[in-house]
Amino acid sequence: MTTRAEPIGGPLVTPATRGLAVLFGLAALTILWRLVAGLGATTALNDGYPLGLWIAFDVVTGAALATGGYVIGILVYILNKGRYHDLLRPALLTSALGYTLAGIGVTLDVGRWWAIWKVPVYFWNWNFNSALLEVALCIMAYVVVLWLRLAPALLQPATRGGNERLRRAAARFTSLVERATIPMVALGLLLATMHQSSLGTLMLLAGSRLHPLWRTPLLPLLFLISCVAMGFAVVVFESVLSSVAFRKRPELDMLASLAGIIAPLQLVFVVLRLGDLWWRGSLGLLFAGGGRSAVAAIEFAVFLAPVVMLASPSSRRDLGALFRAAMVMMFAGALYRFDTYLVAFMPGAQWSYFPSVAELTITTGLVAFEVLAYIVIVKTFPILAAEPRVERQAA
């Protein structure tokens, strides 16, 4: 990897990082409380709504927002678009952080968290009928792959450090990882394809308790397509934010051409979803009135909005328009996931769920930790490209 990435540098303690650390500190205390007191005392979860905010947001939405590494990996390695290479490391970093947090989220959510190690270890008990088992194993393996892919960047200071033995070990490990690039990238892309689609399969098990506006055998495909769109959106979002926050020149050419890919994906999603509703005779439910019809209509609106926002080539080169469209796209994918996991689930009229303060505090704190870790890592390690290359500008 000879991308000219370099650490941003600058102070690690700033008002922003201090604020993020406070949010995370609050969450850490709440996490202790949850582990000691149990789920009933700290969350709004119940036997009707056994899955709540932590699964719908931290895990399902979090993993989908962490597909930046997946989509840039497809572009660079499969579609051979080397010009996107500068976006790869930051995308891998957001992916690694996002999936790590999803893992933490799951660990807090499961009631018997001290036994979670048994899932990868007790292979003789694996139930291959369980979509959840597949998701769990894939995500665990994927977190390892992502951090390994980042290892060369994170080990770079060590390869230049003063300690001779550490330097040699870091160099050897880096070359090992780099030689394994192809099998590792292929594994990463495979794992992401598998678990992102299976996150859709998961809710099919709810059967008739899943509202027909969302219950379709297409769930795995719809989850896969929308996670790719979300991955692109996050790359755009993160790139624009970094360029503003760290006063870098934005990679406008790349972002503009990425935007050209996103819009068709959103359209494919909408067409598939509408076609599927029509095919199954559930299209009328969209106009049946009531909360779920309204929410589904909003879903379609926010999936289509970015297509309109980015319709003209000039809007795709407008940093503000790109940023806003990326936000709407991330929101659209997130809403679709919340709807499938919470809104569409119908356990019976006697049950209700709205996340508790502790659930919200922990989720907020984990997101704050993700942003904090991102800032610290790009300031310390070579993640972001130094400056857009001059020859690219000329091309």
Binding site: L39, R112, N127, S130, E134, I182, M194, L205, S208, L218
Partner: protein, 299 residues
Amino acid sequence: MGITRRAALQTMLAAGATAAGTRPADAAVLPAPPADAVGLLYDATLCIGCKTCTVACRDANGLEPDTAGSPDRLYNAPLDLSARAKTVIKLYADGPVRSYVKAQCMHCVDPACASACMLGALKKRQFGIVTYDPDLCIGCRYCEVGCPFGVPKFEFAKAAPRIVKCELCKERLASGKEPACTEVCPRKAVIYGTRTELLQEAKRRLAESPGRYVPKVYGETDGGGTQVLYLSHVPFEKLGLPALGDEPAPQLARSIQHAVYRGFAAPAALYAVLGLVMMRNRRSAGAAAPQGGADDDAR
């Protein structure tokens, strides 16, 4: 070259698409109950709602009182099945039409909870009873998402929680006794037996007094069949027994998993295609683009 790349993407989308196009080929074949299947037969026309069964169940299973339905917390009064109530008696009343109904695990022939369970903590074991092994449970509660009857309950109140559900008094069965609920029922409204015997008995009652019942044994085929069977004089949906059709509840999700992952062939093929495409890309890039991918502009 472009074709290979397209092939890679197509294979990736195929993961989802195969799933989409899959209708369970084996859906027509109902899963057979295990040969040693035992169960319950509950006859709503005989039940007088005395709740003796719920007391015996609590006693046999060492369950703490569930006072959710008692404002002053003085009485054992569960509102429904809960982490402290493995069986409850509920009342359906619509004018003069009334019926009690007993709720507990249905011990499905093809249980969604067991299909959901990652390590098989919930699993059909001896006599086809869906039993729970806490050593294999991490508390993910996916079983609660899957069960169409809302049976598995979770000990949210505890820091070391377990799943709680009827296991058909498997310890009592092992020592030659029958389940606590059937042993004490004064009207024999709920009886224990092998599933075959119970189904015969239910059909005998339907044939003997055709006017008395809704002409159907709930659980014979519903949701792929259950080992707990019901007879009733009011529609089964009124008693909280949903109209599920004959397809087992976990069939659709499982057929998708199986179609995509049969023999792990599709993932292995996708992995191979991805690897090959990358190798070709790298070779075509040569030494000009050492960063791992050739730029389209550069070629």
